[in-house]
């Protein structure tokens, strides 16, 4: 099953960064464009399953982009707009966008709309939600499977628990005590062995275990998982 692709079109990179990461976390493939011509180009080459489209773009306007996309292929389009006066026209019959989100928005809300429009239009289903994605690492907390760049990786139960806990709190430092408490319900992991479990885990999932990009040490505190830069 391939992940649905979402094309995000907005001329504000700091906004697209946020949408891109939220969508990636939900298992979508994301392609991005900052202006109308690039959007049309990617629309034809990457064949996205859904488009998030800002209404005000350099090059030509979002409404013009929408018209051109619709003339190529019928794909669900959600408009992003700071102009409340445009909404009726955008979602109405004239342009026929599938939905809109007013700026400023909650990125979680945008992801919810994306999933809902995909369901409603019977397109690619969202990927199963028990999979988490951190960079190139996929963690399936139900099947207890881990893949790195698509390749399955075998972990011990303790290594899996550590990765499961850290990956559900990406960006957040967990103290040694917090990790031990969550990983070791039956007391089989002791403080002094935690570092060794982490080292073994890094050896299996890090591209360069001596210079970790995913599981970083927060000296004097504990560990945290991060998106690789």
């Amino acid at each position: 099953m391939t992940a649905p692709t979402v094309l995000v079109v907005d001329d504000e990179p700091a906004l697209v960064d946020v949408l891109e990461q939220y969508l990636r976390d939900e298992g979508f493939t994301v392609v991005r464009a900052a202006d109308g011509p690039a959007a049309i180009d990617l629309f034809e080459r990457r064949r996205p399953d859904l488009v998030l489209l800002d209404i005000n773009l350099p090059g030509f306007s979002g409404t013009e982009v929408l018209r051109r996309m619709r003339s190529v292929r019928d794909v669900p389009i959600i408009m992003l707009t700071g102009r409340v006066d445009e909404i009726d026209r955008v979602v109405g019959l004239e342009l026929g966008a599938d939905d809109y989100v007013g700026k400023p928005f909650s990125p979680r809300e945008v992801v919810a709309r994306v999933k809902s429009v995909l369901r409603r239009t019977g397109r690619a289903a969202p990927p199963p939600s028990h999979e988490r994605y951190v960079g190139e690492i996929t963690i399936d907390s139900v099947a207890h499977e881990v893949r790195v760049a698509g390749k399955p990786v075998t972990l011990t139960p303790t290594q899996f628990k550590i990765l499961d806990v850290l990956s559900s709190h990406v960006g957040q430092t967990l103290t040694r005590d917090q990790l031990l408490e969550r990983v070791s319900a039956d007391g089989d992991v002791f403080d002094r062995t935690l570092d060794r479990h982490i080292a073994n885990l890094r050896a299996r999932i890090e591209p360069d275990p001596g210079n970790p990009r995913y599981i970083v040490t927060v000296f004097g505190v504990g560990y945290k998982m991060v998106y690789p830069a």
Partner: protein
């Protein structure tokens, strides 16, 4: 006036989305991203100053 409001909403969108991502642990609040949020808020401030003043409040 509607152009101003639109621009303000656009800059606020950058600030709100980023701060929410920091809160959710989805993005790291790197110096570059914090600078982008600050810049967006400063743009909002600049735009607010351009809104024509109505009658003073009593």
């Amino acid at each position: 006036m509607s152009r101003l409001v639109h621009e303000i909403r656009n800059h606020l969108a950058v600030a709100v989305a980023n701060v929410e991502a920091f809160r959710d642990g989805v993005l790291e609040p790197t110096p570059a991203r914090l600078a982008a949020v600050l810049d967006a808020l400063q743009q909002v401030e600049t735009l607010l100053l351009q809104i024509p003043r109505g009658d003073p409040e009593h």
